[in-house]
Point group: C2
Chain length 420, copies 2
């Protein structure tokens, strides 16, 4: 299929974009892209691809923008229940960490999730992933972390694999047993850290090898934060995971600066995420490393907190910046990556072009998948969006709605009507 | 048609809700509403309406929330062209008023709109109104103000009447010839004010009586702001309009406090809108009047400015507060009233219940239509929403997506598929 007559084709060709180089869209006016099977075969001007591929079936983009699908590299998309009542509490002035201490927050979702069967989790999560896909997220990382005990965490992994199988969104699993201290270990973070290292990580490892031997190991992630896991506990968990061969991620510096970003670099984590209160020396350490800095502007927005990730400082230091939704039932129930870009333009002071690269190619790098997805280049997977706008800058400019006209995943076309 | 088994039926019955009384949803658990023709005939519990109306055809809401349609009482929804490039300029630090001074902003849209035929305006605006309707806005105020000369302003009014006729959203027109100083009067705001009073208002009046004699006169509105119309110029225009019988609105205190809110009360304006930098004595004057205070949180958000309407102060003073989108091509291209509620919860510190009433019944009052729309009561127009959520607080809690499952306008049902 030859998609042609795009007003703008954003190829975003090349390697992930570091520092102030961020924002090179590889834009082709009146562009075209040739898809065969699950792959992109060629990109170029409409005239050139007409000439080179005269016999391909054609789809007229009618002056719309064509770009790579969004990659959402940090979500907690799978859970049971909701926390609408807690949202009201927060409006009344209770802080996120206060609610967590009272057994709300993550632990409220944990109780509902532990009680849900695998099939119930799949059923509750399906419409969320479908909405994310309809808003353009073609690859979505999904974390466990609402089980906080071996069986429930593995049930979440099972559900993630099942949801990936169902599609159409492609899922990348992450084990986040270190999301909070479960009630069984209340006041004993050291003991739960031991339990994670000695019991849970090996159980996940064994389960994975027996159930999904052909897939790469999931990421292991830790919430390094006051009230969750200290820097030393985080180091122990991630070090143990690395020894077993798991690739790493970390939640760092969301509310308090504990040194998680620097820990990520020292352990070769693929990404360090949140980074709201990261001190400048840690920003520099991140920028000097291969670890991707993932900003999650939906979370300060969701919490109505004024402080966002210092994206400009990360870029000036030469860092690799990506964007993600952080979709979760507490602080950021947002299934729309386009809205994350609108926030990034306003509160991270990115240009629309920078935000787009951060949410596609650089976001793929935050999952170690930049060779396969995130840009429109021959040989890459045919994951792309047709936006119902004449200019890519409508992303960012417009907010709160869905500008995606069609989503293409592994060469299969989905209209919005298909996704209702 | 008897819509039954709503988890929550929000009737919002009674008069517009003033001051801290704001937020009474008139909630009926397991509720039902009976519609006949274009009207609501009864509301109550599912059990009661089953008993009273055993023979009515039934629609099972399946545990969803049923509520009145949103009323959006302040939009600039009709225009030609876009200002995506200007959005990038603003990200680079140019202010809204600087861009206006350079001939951008409103004047850029004016140039495109003057060149557009009535049919072109209808065609460009149709998908915007459709998206607004799909997101739950069943009645939408639409302002002129991108013509800034008699013929173009009247062409905008014609297009608004045609779009209202096409539906499904019901439109309420406003004449905003006093939106900016047009290039023909550059540096001569007094002369343009004279022109508005002597030539444009009478021309609009005569045109309306000849073309739409059965409809009430449109609102007349003025942008009372530094760089637009001074307090005295605003007073002259609105006073002249009032003499001719037009109902009044005003843009007051968006960037600078010129006294527009107090002017609104002294002239009996139906609403005063924006109110970001309104001094406390003017807030009290508003609260002591019948003029509705309309907050437009999409605009500070769109501009990434930190200051929002002091909604709590307005409520504490006893004011009538409403919400609107301010949809426009410069500062707030947002077609989703649900997102406006999400902003209001976070930045105006309203509860979800307060935001819902401010965007339905009180918003109807901001158009003088509270007797006909804005709540679910016998005799009122059957404008309502079925939300795909179990609890009304999902409005506010969740952001950036569309939670509306079906829209009912004058008794006619629209699914999302109908509205694509």
């Amino acid at each position: 299929m030859l998609i042609h007559s795009a007003s703008q084709l954003l190829t975003i060709a090349g390697p992930p974009q570091r520092g102030l180089d961020l924002g090179d869209l590889g834009l082709i006016d009146n562009g075209a892209v040739l898809i065969q099977g699950e792959k992109i075969v060629a990109v170029g001007s409409t005239a050139d691809l007409y000439a080179s591929y005269p016999d391909e079936p054609r789809l007229d983009a009618r002056g719309r923008v064509v770009m790579p699908g969004f990659v959402d590299p940090h979500t907690h998309a799978i859970w049971a229940g909701d926390r609408a009542a807690e949202f009201e509490q927060r409006l009344q002035g209770y802080s996120y960490l206060e609610i967590l201490e009272q057994g709300g927050g993550i632990l409220a979702t944990m109780r509902a999730t532990r009680q849900a069967s695998r099939d119930a989790l799949v059923q509750e999560t399906t419409p969320r992933l479908r909405r994310m896909f309809a808003h353009g997220a073609t690859t979505i990382e999904v974390k466990t972390g609402y089980g906080l005990e071996t069986a429930s965490e593995i049930r979440m992994l099972e559900a993630i694999l099942e949801l990936d199988r169902i599609g159409p969104a492609e899922l990348v699993p992450t084990f986040l047993g270190a999301h909070a201290i479960p009630p069984e270990f209340h006041g004993q973070p050291e003991a739960y850290t031991d339990h994670l290292c000695v019991e849970m990580l090996p159980a996940v490892f064994d389960w994975w090898l027996s159930q999904a031997p052909s897939r790469p190991l999931p990421f292991v992630d830790v919430f390094c934060e006051t009230g969750a896991f200290s820097l030393e506990q985080s180091r122990r968990i991630l070090t143990r995971a690395r020894e077993m061969g798991f690739p790493l991620k970390i939640h760092a510096d969301e509310f308090d600066s504990l040194g998680g970003a620097r820990l990520a670099t020292s352990l070769g984590a693929v990404s360090a995420d949140h980074l709201v209160v990261t001190p400048s020396e840690d920003i520099q350490a991140l920028a000097d490393s291969a670890t991707v800095a993932v900003a999650l502007p939906g979370t300060p927005f969701g919490l109505a907190e004024p402080q966002y990730t210092p994206a400009k400082a990360i870029l000036e230091a030469g860092g690799l910046l990506a964007l993600a939704s952080d979709l979760n039932p507490g602080t950021a129930w947002c299934e729309n990556m386009q809205f994350i870009l609108a926030l990034a333009c306003r509160y991270l002071k990115l240009t629309p072009a920078q935000a787009i690269v951060a949410a596609t190619l650089n976001a793929a790098a935050a999952l170690g998948l930049e060779k396969r997805i995130g840009s429109l280049e021959p040989g890459k997977q045919a994951d792309l969006l047709i936006l119902d706008v004449p200019d890519y800058r409508h992303l960012g400019y417009r907010f709160g709605t869905n500008l995606v006209y069609q989503v293409v995943k592994k060469g299969v076309f989905y209209s919005q009507a298909d996704l209702l």
